[in-house]
Symmetry: C2
Amino acid sequence: MKAEIIAIGSEILLGDIVNTNAQYLSRELATLGIDVYHQQVVGDNEERLLKAYDEAYKRSELVITTGGLGPTQDDITKESAAKYFNKKLKLDENTLKGIEKYFNKQGRELKGNNIKQAYFPEGAIIMPNSCGTASGVIIEEGNKKMIILPGPPREMESMFNEQVLPYLEKLTDCVLRSKMLRIFGIGESFMAEELAYLIDNGKNPTVAPYAKGVDVSLRITAKGETEEECLNLIEPVEAEVRKTLKDKVYGEGEITLEYKVAEMLCKSNLTISTAESCTGGMIAAKLISYPGVSQVFLEGAVTYSNEAKVRRLGVKKETLNLYGAVSKETAREMAEGICRESGSDISVVTTGIAGPGGGTKEKPVGLVYIGLCFKGETVVEKFIFQGERDKIRERATMNALNLLRLKIIEKGYCRE
Amino acid sequence: MKAEIIAIGSEILLGDIVNTNAQYLSRELATLGIDVYHQQVVGDNEERLLKAYDEAYKRSELVITTGGLGPTQDDITKESAAKYFNKKLKLDENTLKGIEKYFNKQGRELKGNNIKQAYFPEGAIIMPNSCGTASGVIIEEGNKKMIILPGPPREMESMFNEQVLPYLEKLTDCVLRSKMLRIFGIGESFMAEELAYLIDNGKNPTVAPYAKGVDVSLRITAKGETEEECLNLIEPVEAEVRKTLKDKVYGEGEITLEYKVAEMLCKSNLTISTAESCTGGMIAAKLISYPGVSQVFLEGAVTYSNEAKVRRLGVKKETLNLYGAVSKETAREMAEGICRESGSDISVVTTGIAGPGGGTKEKPVGLVYIGLCFKGETVVEKFIFQGERDKIRERATMNALNLLRLKIIEKGYCRE
């Protein structure tokens, strides 16, 4: 089946917003095995809309539109679709009641315009909107199908997942399930190489890597006749991925590395403190994004200056003079110092050169030492990160969290 | 003039990337007064490309394409454009030399494929690429104009700004200049209301608000025959905005609030320390994103637990018992404590309830006290922020930085 996506709205044509809906829908349709050869964006103008529908059906059987379902006179997606398919608009009492309820709940009065949102092309399938008042529509006419979705991404996505996806699964005679594995410690391209035999050969399930900054994940998507069949297809591939990537897989679904680590600390009842130089509070800030962390997070120190390292953490002046602030020795004393000061079970510390200035041949920009003291046992790892100041700081932060995670596993406090 | 934007590439149709180029170009064209009624996305397929060009020229005189200029056989934007306009492809020696130089610099060998990037439709205007090897092209044929740009946003944007914008200014007989004012302490919609008389009436210059998270800015764009004329048009409007928003305007151009504040501290040679509870290191991390901050940033403490507040900052146990950790009194003692401990001129501290749990009727989720000690003089401000945990923490962080900025101005260390 071929599909075409039409985004409707002058806010996209004026560049006020970016058309993320098209990306979302394209990705979903690709996974369903539905080809998308064209995307269009048009304004809320009847003549241009009718032409756009016409163009689209010359090339595709399925048209999915987003936007133009609001209560104002500008919004004419449903109206123009009705005209295109030669159908009358009819009031749907159920939808009207739903809109009234929505307004009452918000303590607002239902105005004349909003009643427009309860009218639909005769015979169409109505899709209620769980996050707003703009219902979606599915029109079936001969072999032409049109799926009309609201513009706000949150409304569009939840309607797609709850109502359109099952419809398309039925249409394509398949069920679709996917599993997202969250990964740290390997770049996207390197992972793609390591798993090339799965990514390239994977027709069902498909295996696709995603990257967003330092965050890498892998989505395994299976197509089958039942949910069970999909899960059975995913299982061996997931096992294969885990066998290859080992402890680089840190979680599943929407979890982040900082959440995972904070959760592990809380579950293991291991108290923690941090001392940060180049990351300047970023590790602490990440850990504290986890709501329950107060029970284990004892203290963080941002010791950017040498004086603070000496006064706060008891780093020896001789160490700083002899080896410099960015050194294995200083990192070790920082890690042991903050543990001693705070009385925590674990500490994690950073000292490095984030740039742009301050680098030398021996100690280039990007050099970062990450120290970890675990119940009196200290290790320091040396990294050289690429990129600009903020990238280096972010990479140091995420690697510090990851070392923490691996250490907790190694010490047998959590299995993963 | 009417223009149409065609993004070319299967990576957009598969949903692997979002089409930000279309947004960028739409916004730029809108400011130039060029109407965009359609955007298209098509794959790298000759037949579909030719049809897309054809469709576009039925509706518009100017077509701007992005993507499909790479060295591989898939990339056929230039080739199909040449075919559409019935022109031969010709090698451009200058471009070839440029590509060779680029490869030598990177220590890579020029492969056969890359020579393709030095061929252009005969008679076309060639636009060198300052960030890569894919040159852009402008084809003029009768009243049809086609501007062919590379896909990677960084390359596309710099080529647009350096080469396409002057071309379009000449075409539309106008020069365009804009000024971005950076604002803190007022929401986008409230600002839009306050400045409605400028935003709604502004034809030339136009005044447009932008918001990205807590960051609000205002772009004043003037159209004229010369740069001088534009700047003269912008000046009184900028003065009007500054008169209305006063010290809410914190900077111009690409600066951020944290950069501004760190810069002010460095310029005024005021040393600083931080003590953070709910923001957990975010203020320190923001300040340390400024490269030169080491000269003034003495120390940061992340005192999330009561014990740390007592041990590190000398907050009295009675204060915590009597008023609680989230109180004006605790904030005051934190601010004075970290100043005393670190010997800094200024301190900024936070204590609050970031949620989702821990709120009461008297102290709801979102309640944050921000304390500031400036050379012995302490003030504490109370805020109630809306939103989820991370939003509350971010708002607290940005407001803390802003209070710092206003205090430095108030004390006469910087004028703005």
